[in-house]
């Protein structure tokens, strides 16, 4: 080679290295941005706390039997790994790293496929899956299992394409065998993505290797694999066999809102579509291919890097602005703060939602937060309310994981142990072995053993309640994150005297003493029983009053009003005053509580409300609109129109 040629080659290599460095730089910056965005904007802890409530619970006890059972179904290994990685969401930095790592796996695999299809300049488009993943998490979905399945599929394809090729029959047979094994293995590992694997390999075979027969065979083999393995080996129906960790057709991953579902489906279709386009390009005459490839203007070093980063930033900014699910975000925050027992923050989050954005579950959390911040009697009608949301006992409330969690928690706080136990068990069965459900059941067992046992055989039953609690805690110990907490509780049980005063839950109000049976529990009966068992149960009292307010029965509220003094109120809560005034107006009486009186401003407000309502009572809808601004947060307004949380109060 002449010195000029050597210099030219060296320059070419430097250029190549620079190109490669630029690609890596943009990719690393892009993934770092994904990491930071998920960590700081989405907050994986919100997702972790919604597991088993608004998101499926990722069950992964460190238990050989469970692993065996999970891995004995198609897609089980990916499900288990996904559940295991999901535990990382407890720590925001780790959870966001998991998302960024999965994004990286998908992007690199996509780039690899582009490269194998002969398109080296497609790396920027290869980052599209990362943008899609950010969009998914922006809507507070957690599709880790399908993303892992997709990554497994793409990497399997990339590895398969790297296998040695040859003309000899042995190599061809060998590749076919490897393909079949990979297809079946992928079905077991990750589910229906084996079909995608076959399609990707098929396109590659046809367009790059020009082996049409092999391509058709690969597609056909992958298409029948789920049917063959799923129905013959795993006893599934054909539909079930084709819907394992797959966002198309029926199945748990298709049970999403339309936008995130479309994004997830797009993520699955993207590599296939791109590979298809590239494959078609490969079929074009060489001259045309060269002209298309020559269009890669972004290869210019500095401009290319800046443009790439700008494109990426623009895509992510568009996702941030356009793709949103505020109702989910707020509900996730409310659940998170309720778990943290940060009740003011629960209310703050709730205020971000419009009245129409609240459902039974968010309303329920609002009332719980109002009670814990001592505002239930004063502020509940500043929020959207529904009688069914108070205790979620009504048949109108859908039997869903949020109900199981909320009902077990509120029943425990109120001191209704049997109801708490009933719903905690429902949660365990319907959702999975959530550590908080296990802990609650353990505490309920201990408390029941202490308070419910008859005098006969008391020691035996106390011992059995401990034994039961130990079982739940031993199970909880198999959870990666809650292991230590479970061990601490187990040790605490061992240290406790059989009838000690240090039992968990001793600070809770008393439970029902009188055993009654019911099929459908009524709020009133439950709360009155709790109060009868323990007249000092303030939570039961305030919830009973709230129940009377919500069910528009001020007469019953007035009957219970004298108890206000037992709980140390210095003044009558505002909504109680409003109910008294309504009751008084209807019955021409004025209930009195010695030492407490209705504040003049409440009485004046009632006068104003009554006057304005009278003026337009023949047109109730007009009246509702007119009065909302000033009285939308009052019981007056709720009592008349059945709506709350409207107007200036918002």
């Amino acid at each position: 080679m002449t010195p000029a040629e050597v210099a030219c080659e060296a320059q070419f290599r430097v250029g190549q290295e620079r190109d490669r460095a630029r690609v890596w730089l943009v990719q690393v910056v892009g993934l770092a941005f994904v990491w930071g965005y998920i960590w700081l904007v989405i907050d994986p802890r919100l997702i972790y706390d919604a597991f088993g409530i608004y998101l499926p619970y990722p069950e992964c006890p460190l238990d050989a039997a469970f692993v065996r059972e999970t891995c004995s179904r198609p897609g089980g290994p990916v499900d288990y790994v996904s559940a295991l990685l999901s535990q990382g969401f407890y720590f925001p930095v780790l959870g966001s790293f998991v998302v960024a790592a999965v994004s990286g796996l998908l992007c690199l695999a996509t780039n690899r496929l582009f490269f194998d299809m002969g398109w080296e300049g497609g790396w920027l488009l290869g980052l599209a899956p990362a943008v899609g993943i950010v969009a998914m998490y922006r809507t507070y979905q957690h599709p880790l299992a399908p993303l892992l399945a997709l990554a497994a599929c793409l990497w399997m394809t990339a590895v398969f394409q790297k296998l040695p090729t040859g003309i000899g029959g042995f190599v061809r047979v060998g590749r076919a065998v490897v393909f079949l094994v990979a297809c079946v293995g992928l079905y077991w590992l990750a589910g229906t993505v084996c079909v995608l694997f076959g399609l990707l390999v098929g396109v590659w075979m046809a367009c790059v290797k020009r082996r049409w027969l092999a391509a058709a065979a690969a597609v056909a083999a992958s298409a029948v694999t789920p049917w063959l393995i799923g129905t013959r080996w795993y006893y599934m129906t054909a539909t079930e066999a084709y819907c394992v960790i797959w966002p198309f057709g029926p199945g748990s991953w298709s049970d999403m809102e339309p936008l995130p579902l479309a994004i997830l489906q797009g993520l699955f279709l993207f590599p296939l579509a791109m590979v298809g386009i590239l494959g078609l390009r490969n079929l074009l005459p060489q001259g045309l291919q060269n002209r298309l490839t020559a269009f890669a203007w972004w290869r210019r070093p500095i401009l290319g890097t800046v443009t790439s980063l700008a494109t990426l930033a623009l895509a992510l900014w568009l996702v941030h602005v356009i793709v949103r699910a505020p109702h989910r975000e707020v509900r996730f925050k409310m659940v998170h703060f309720a778990r943290m027992r940060e009740w003011e923050e629960v209310l703050q989050a709730a205020r971000q939602l419009r009245s129409s954005g609240h459902d039974y579950f968010s309303q329920h959390l609002v009332n719980r937060a109002l009670f814990h911040t001592r505002q239930l009697g004063d502020g509940m009608f500043a929020f959207s309310q529904d009688p069914s949301s108070l205790l979620l006992l009504s048949g109108d409330v859908p039997h869903a994981p949020p109900k199981f969690w909320m009902l077990s928690e509120i029943a425990w706080e109120l001191g209704d142990l049997n109801l708490a136990e009933q719903w905690a068990f429902e949660r365990l069965e319907a959702v999975g072995e959530c550590p908080d459900a296990l802990e609650l059941l353990a505490l309920i067992s201990l408390r029941k053993g202490q308070t419910l046992t008859p005098s006969v055989l008391e020691q035996d039953l106390l011992a059995s309640s401990r034994q039961t609690a130990r079982m739940f805690l031993r199970r909880m110990r198999k959870n990666l994150l809650h292991r230590r907490h479970a061990e601490a509780l187990l040790e605490a049980i061992e240290r406790m005297p059989l009838k000690g005063s240090m039992w968990p839950g001793n600070g809770l109000p008393g439970l029902r003493c009188e055993d009654r049976t019911f099929q459908t529990c009524s709020e009133e009966l439950m709360l009155e029983n709790l109060l009868a068992a323990n007249p000092g149960n303030q939570m039961a009292f305030e919830y009973l009053m709230a129940y009377y307010l919500l069910s528009r029965r001020p007469d019953r509220l007035v009957q219970h009003l004298p108890r206000v003094k037992d709980f140390g109120y210095r003044e009558i809560p505002r909504h109680y005053e409003e109910a008294i005034l309504i009751h008084g107006a209807g019955t021409a009486t004025e209930p009195t509580i010695p030492g407490l009186s209705i504040r003049p401003e409440t009485a004046q407000r009632f006068q104003r409300f009554a006057a304005r309502f009278q003026a337009s009572r023949n047109q109730p809808w007009l009246a509702a609109a007119d009065l909302a601004e000033e009285f939308g947060d009052s019981y007056f307004y709720y009592h008349v129109f059945g709506v709350s949380g409207v107007g200036r109060a918002r």
């Binding site: 050989a64 006893y235 599934m236 129906t237 039997h399 209704d416 142990l417 049997n418 109801l419 136990e421 009933q422 068990f425 429902e426 365990l428 069965e429 319907a430 072995e433 067992s445 029941k448 419910l452 046992t453 055989l457 035996d460 039953l461 011992a463 059995s464 309640s465 034994q467 039961t468 130990r470 079982m471 739940f472 031993r474 199970r475 110990r477 198999k478 439970l511 029902r512 003493c513 009188e514 055993d515 009654r516 049976t517 019911f518 099929q519 529990c521 439950m526 029983n529 068992a533």
Partner: protein, 501 residues
């Protein structure tokens, strides 16, 4: 578990016999879990692995009997996993003899020997398999219910039919013709509707019916069924939260030869609740539990009546060849026992009737007071079995030789049902029961499932899970009329006074 096995193998080397011989004696028995001592065990049972609950850094367990060499386990772990081969040989050679377990524990560089644990090896073997229902406690919204079989001679457990295979379905009320694994029925409900599967002699067919408890006639020609409407309800302040009762129930029978579901007034009295059928071994009588319907309508149901609902044990004569039913006789009334008598099961020799006595209704496991009783059918005397506890016992089944029973018990937690096996002597006296052994001695420490309705069978189920599942999915079913709409005393609606909510 793997660690335990490994430890056992690694340290299974000859010990310093002199050190063990000089071990200091502790004058009490070691604490072990499960409590495998003072029990009578079948010669063909899987090893009773256990955990020593004494502190120590090394453990030696010697299991020996009159004949044959001792089985010795040396372990650093207190979890003792007994080698199955040696265990089997020892038991088979020593039928009728005492099995002694000596436990040595090394603590602070010294060996300690505890008092020996003694068990008796029975002469009579136990049936090789049991079939049971496995589920989670107290859940109305079930996700994991399955019928499983367990090899008692090993630890092998496998699903017969799992509800998860057909969309979180429910499977229940399995029954066999005289413990024959080739003739089985079970019920299902879920995505594919309600149905009753019959697997017999290599064939499976499905009845389009919602049925409950089943009992195969010894001839295999007839299966008696109950059909019930369960009302679930809850207690506000009781250790056992959940309770249940039937608001309506009748019996019917299915003629396998004619593929016909029928009933007669004797077993489907509109004024009675008939349930839990069970045939006498000679097939001449159908035993069942029956209670008078106390309530006039559904409005007042159930709080006023549930505690007053008490069942009698009754029987009715049946001629299988002529398909003719005789009059109903009361075997043991609630008035006699002062309680509710449920779940009758006659011993294979026809001498004893095992049943549950509970405060009310027939859902015995929801009542901690429920106990197993045995009625001597020759003299009419009944007594409480020795194998009861302060927790609920129910769902019992006889082995084919009548020497073993398996039953569900809620001991020691009051919530989780476990299976216990007990030996019954020729006088119907039960030995101390023992917990169904598991390979992992700590299996029950955190197992949150329940076992109910155990049934002995003398081999693995002949029908494959695939075949049973195909039958569940197959909508080509034998059409039958609802039992509640049958019978001469019925109104056209099928409900004389009751209507399920």
């Amino acid at each position: 578990m793997v660690g335990t096995v490994a430890t056992t193998l690694i340290f299974s080397r000859p010990l310093d016999e002199a050190a063990l011989a000089e071990a200091r004696l502790i004058a009490r028995r070691p604490r072990i879990q499960p409590e495998y001592f003072d029990v009578v065990i079948p010669p063909n049972i899987a090893p009773l692995n256990f955990r020593i609950e004494e502190s120590g850094d090394q453990f030696v367990v010697r299991i020996h009997a009159v004949k044959g060499g001792a089985v010795e386990i040396v372990s650093r772990s207190p979890e003792i996993v007994i080698p199955p081969g040696a265990w089997r040989r020892l038991l088979m050679e020593n039928r009728g003899n005492t099995l002694t377990i000596d436990v040595f524990v090394r603590r602070e560089a010294a060996w300690w020997r505890y008092g020996s644990l003694k068990n008796r090896i029975a002469e009579e073997e136990i049936d090789s398999h049991i079939v049971y229902r496995r589920l989670r406690p107290d859940a109305l919204y079930y996700r994991t219910i399955g019928i499983y079989q367990r090899d008692l001679e090993s630890y092998r457990e496998s699903a017969v039919l799992d509800g998860r295979w057909f969309g979180e379905g429910c499977v229940h009320c399995h029954a066999f013709q005289e413990r024959n694994p080739a003739r089985m029925s079970l019920n299902f409900r879920g995505r594919y509707g309600d149905g009753c599967l019959f697997a017999h002699d290599g064939q499976i067919h499905t009845l389009a019916a919602r049925l409950g408890h089943a009992a195969w006639h010894p001839s295999g020609k007839v299966v008696a069924f109950s059909r019930f409407d369960i009302q679930l309800f809850y207690h506000t302040a009781r250790m056992q939260t959940r309770d249940a009762m039937d608001s309506n129930s009748d019996l019917a029978y299915y003629r396998l030869d004619r593929r016909e579901l029928k009933t007669v007034a004797a077993i489907a009295d509109p004024f009675q609740l008939e349930t839990q059928p069970s045939w006498s071994p000679d097939g001449r009588y159908l035993y069942f539990a029956s209670a008078a319907k106390l309530w006039p309508d559904y409005v007042t149901f159930p709080s006023e009546y549930f505690s007053r609902l008490r069942y009698d044990l009754k029987r009715v004569r049946y001629d299988v060849e002529a398909d003719r039913w005789g009059p109903v006789e009361t075997v043991l009334s609630a008035e006699q026992t002062g309680k509710s008598n449920a779940n009758p099961r006659v011993s294979p020799d026809g001498r004893f009737l095992l049943f549950t006595l509970c405060d009310h209704g027939n859902f015995a496991l929801y009542q901690p007071e429920s106990d197993l009783y045995v009625l001597n059918l020759e003299d009419g005397k009944y007594r409480k079995l020795e194998c009861n506890s302060e927790f609920a016992e129910s769902w019992h089944s006889w082995s084919s030789n009548g020497r073993w029973i398996v039953f569900s018990s809620k001991r020691p937690t009051g919530i989780f049902t476990r299976l216990y096996l007990a030996y019954l002597d020729s006088d119907g006296r039960a030995a101390k029961p023992f917990l169904l052994p598991q390979r992992d001695p700590g299996f029950y420490d955190d197992f949150l499932g329940l076992y109910t309705l155990p049934e002995f069978v003398d081999g693995p189920i002949a029908a494959s899970p695939r075949a049973l599942l195909s039958a569940v999915r197959d909508t080509n079913r034998v059409p039958v009329e609802d039992i509640f709409r049958m019978g001469p005393a019925r109104s056209p609606s099928g409900h004389d006074r009751l209507r399920p909510e």
